[in-house]
């Protein structure tokens, strides 16, 4: 056996101690059991899930409220983000600095994360302080003071964040792609617009929170090392008196499919930031898990076909990936990559060719088995950290999935056959219905994009 590199012997004399030619075959995968959860509901409707977990003496407390950017009317994109900032400016009994100092003493900080479908108040703390953290999160959610003096500063922060996002190609691609798929639905408005942010008032933010954030629209998750009895008592005391809230009327998304090409001009860009995708199905569909596995094989893992092609074979890009992006009622498959400008069209052709290939020919059983093991392995990893466990439980709750969805996930992944992959690829991943978005240098790439269809020039909002 030669230890060679370009024909040159590296470590010539050590060959006698050679490793075997093939890797040792792993034994059976150890059984995986999801951590046990305790679920209950307070009389006012607050849902609670407690999960004792882990060895490290910490806990995560996460209060999830059904209020998100999807609830913003046209002209108010980002109002929820501003509201989230205002929540941290003090409560009925504590100033902003007092909230921050109490949280620090517990080993963390209260953070507000605003997403399209939900807003969460989150805190990571030392395990011994979990009950205190629950009380603090409840106080911030229930009695925010909305001080008028902070409004201008926080709007300035939001405007700065938006300006920084809008100077980067990936958010611009995200925005153009979402608009192409979701049109005028709030899911189609990814980034706030400066002129709109300027008009936001304190009253709008206060109303948004007080109207839609309440006991029956909230779910508290606590995961980590804590005293369950003390935490339960703290939850009942801190959240028991919270009033109910209204449910905002959420518009139904009607995603658009179709072969369209959008180009956002970014003069001088040395890379093109691309998105290729189309609507598929939401997590409630029986085809969702087959699509997860198909996506992982196609572009959703390092060893996937598209990555092997446009990165490892052609060197067009560093970090390509595909993913399923989902909201209640809808799902989208999308491949994303930042490719060298001159290779833009070639990279897009290769992506589409990989999709076509999978539509024509089923994967071998060996390739599929490997992907199934990867999907199973990353499922175990996702369920092996406090934040990951909360994310998995939130997913099940947001989409209203059956109670045993996580328990039956692995067997459903393992049951898939090569023909299932071909079927869902043919049914859902039709290149003739895929939308292309390119953020790049128009003078260089526009002509080459015409092979994919008429090119529409998009101006960023």
């Amino acid at each position: 056996m030669l230890r060679t590199l370009a024909g040159l012997s590296l470590l010539g004399s050590t060959l006698a101690l050679a490793a075997p030619e093939t890797p040792p075959v792993p034994g059976p995968t150890p059984p995986f059991e999801l951590p046990a959860t305790t679920r209950f509901k307070l009389r006012n409707g607050v849902q609670v899930t407690l999960v004792p977990y882990g060895a490290v003496p910490k806990s995560n407390v996460s209060l999830v409220v059904r209020l998100g950017n999807v609830d913003e009317p046209a002209g108010q994109t980002g109002l929820t983000d501003l509201t989230g900032k205002l929540l941290l400016q003090g409560t009925g009994t504590k100033s902003a600095i007092q909230v921050a100092e109490v949280a620090a003493k517990l080993g963390g900080a209260v953070a507000v994360n605003v997403r399209e479908d939900e807003t969460s108040l989150e805190m990571e703390c030392l395990g011994d302080s979990t009950a205190e953290a629950v009380r603090l999160v409840a106080e911030v959610a229930r009695t925010p003071s909305f001080p008028a003096a902070e409004l201008a500063r926080l709007k300035g922060d939001l405007l700065r964040e938006v300006a920084i996002q809008r100077s980067q190609p990936q958010p611009l691609a995200e925005e153009a792609f979402a608009r192409a798929i979701y049109g005028s639905h709030p899911y189609g408005r990814v980034l706030p617009v400066a002129a709109e942010v300027e008009t936001f008032t304190l009253e709008q933010a206060r109303q948004l929170w007080t109207r839609y954030a309440g006991a029956d629209r909230a779910h508290l998750y606590v995961v980590g090392r804590f005293d369950p009895a003390a935490v339960r008592a703290a939850i009942e005391e801190a959240f028991g008196g919270w009033g109910k809230a209204k449910a905002p009327a959420r518009p139904r998304p009607t995603p658009h499919a179709g072969k369209r090409v959008f180009l956002v001009d970014r003069p001088g860009a040395v890379q093109s930031t691309v998105r290729i995708g189309l609507p598929v199905v939401p997590p409630t569909s029986p085809d969702y898990i087959p699509l997860v596995v198909t996506d992982t094989l196609l572009g959703g893992s390092f060893g996937s076909r598209i990555t092997a092609n446009i990165r490892e074979k052609h060197g067009y890009t560093y970090s390509p990936r595909s993913a399923l992006g989902v909201h209640p009622g809808v799902g989208v498959w999308v491949e994303q990559a930042d490719v060298t400008t001159k290779d833009t069209a070639a990279a897009l052709r290769e992506v589409l060719a990989e999709v076509e290939h999978l539509r024509k020919e089923p994967p071998t059983a060996e390739e599929l088995t490997g992907i199934q093991k990867y999907v199973a392995g990353t499922f175990v990893l996702r369920n092996s950290s406090r934040a990951g466990i909360i994310a998995q439980l939130r997913f099940v709750d947001l989409y209203g999935l059956p109670a045993d969805w996580l328990q039956t996930y692995l067997p459903r992944v393992e049951a898939l056959k090569p023909a299932d992959i071909t079927r869902v690829t043919r049914q859902y991943l039709d290149p003739s219905r895929m939308t292309l978005v390119v953020v790049g240098d128009r003078t260089v790439v526009e002509d080459s994009l015409k092979q994919f269809g008429p090119v529409k020039i998009e101006a960023p909002r």
Binding site: R166, E174, L381, S384
Partner: protein, 483 residues
Amino acid sequence: MRILFCLSLALALGCAHSPAAPAPAPAPAPAAPTPSPPPAADAAAARFVPPDARPAFEIPVEFYTLTNGLKVVLSRDTTAPIVTVGVYYHIGFRIEPRNRTGFAHLFEHMMFQGSENLGKLAFIQLVQRNGGILNGSTRFDFTNYFEVVPANVLETMLWAEADRMRGLKVTQDNLTNQQGVVKSEVRVNVLNRPYGGWPWLTVPQLANKNWYNAHNFYGDLGDLDAATLQDVQQFFTTYYAPNNAALVVSGNFDPGPVKAWVSKYFEGIPRADVPPVPDLTEPPQTEEQWKTVDDKLAQRPALAVAYHMPPRGSPEFWAMALLQQILVEGPDSRLYQELVQKRGLTGEVEGGANLLGNQYDYQGPMLWMASLFHDTGHSPKEIVAAIDTAIEPLRRAPVDQETLDRARVKARSAYYADLERLYGFGRADLLATHALFDGDPAAVNRIEPSLLAVTPELIQRTAQEWLRPTNRTVVALQPAGGK
């Protein structure tokens, strides 16, 4: 609003696509590992607290060295049915060849391009198709390769890491391909975006004087193009030897066979003569430096301050960990309160030592940085004056007990977060670096007591000497778009 872009992938093989202390059981030692050498005299955590100081959360550590010099650390954790395998080589981007900037990182990519028994992509697929994740990253003083896999895959991973430690088998095509991939990485993280490399790549080049600490670690595209297969071979034979590496197995492994596997796969790999680390010393700074960088893609200005850190492991080093909590961690911190809450100059202040890792996983001169984005209406001078308003009181008087108590709790909590990072990979990282740099992975268990032993007087003394304006570089990023 979704977070649409993140920079945590810098100088890595790729971006991740996904998303009670048991005592180690005695195991028969099949080969005859040599006893580990005593900890180096300057071991990071050795001096500041007594060697028997115990943390609230203790990690089991078993440490030995193979006859070929490979340091081995075993640390069991049965929380989940997963195990981390990490191989750390004592070669970071600091000491790459002078006419080959970016080479240490390009080489890291080549470690995935083929070894004797695993062809291109085969290593990646061996990990993923057995249910694991993997990455490699290049840092100041080490390059690491790690996998987090289902517990049953441990032996396979040990075999695979040993296979590529034995030798690479790569072609000119592989090299050309990865030169393209790495140049794409530099484009996506630096050239095609505003704030590319800010502040982690930009500021060391401006604040440091010694070339080893002050060159472009990502590499000039010309230098990346100039790399040859000969360079790859030479780098491998020079640095990728077992006596220049540490292997960590951390997680839910069966303590029975693990040592036999380590011996079987790694013991036969010969040691090599590794050249001494060059002089990395930074000259002491005696005058404040002000620098500007122009960013034609940026819309808003940014500002960073960078102070030279006290030597790793010194009492002042531990005080800096507390000062980080007091100054930049969380909304109760002094810089947040002064710059965000009180003056509205920015929405967030970020900072710390070693932005590509944490305060513990490097060995050599390091900067402590704080950085922020701001609006054009406020000058760098005004912002630096506000920073001084927050820092100067810490130099003038000892901190009050309340501040110290909060900093201690936050420091403990942050250390636990370091351990837990990426499915427990963070624990392997700390064990590996303390083995590699200090010959003493058990020093990890002295981090928590050391953090808690810092006094208000030590904090003041440290702030006086290390947070002095004449020990810092101010870097102002000017946006072409927002001028």
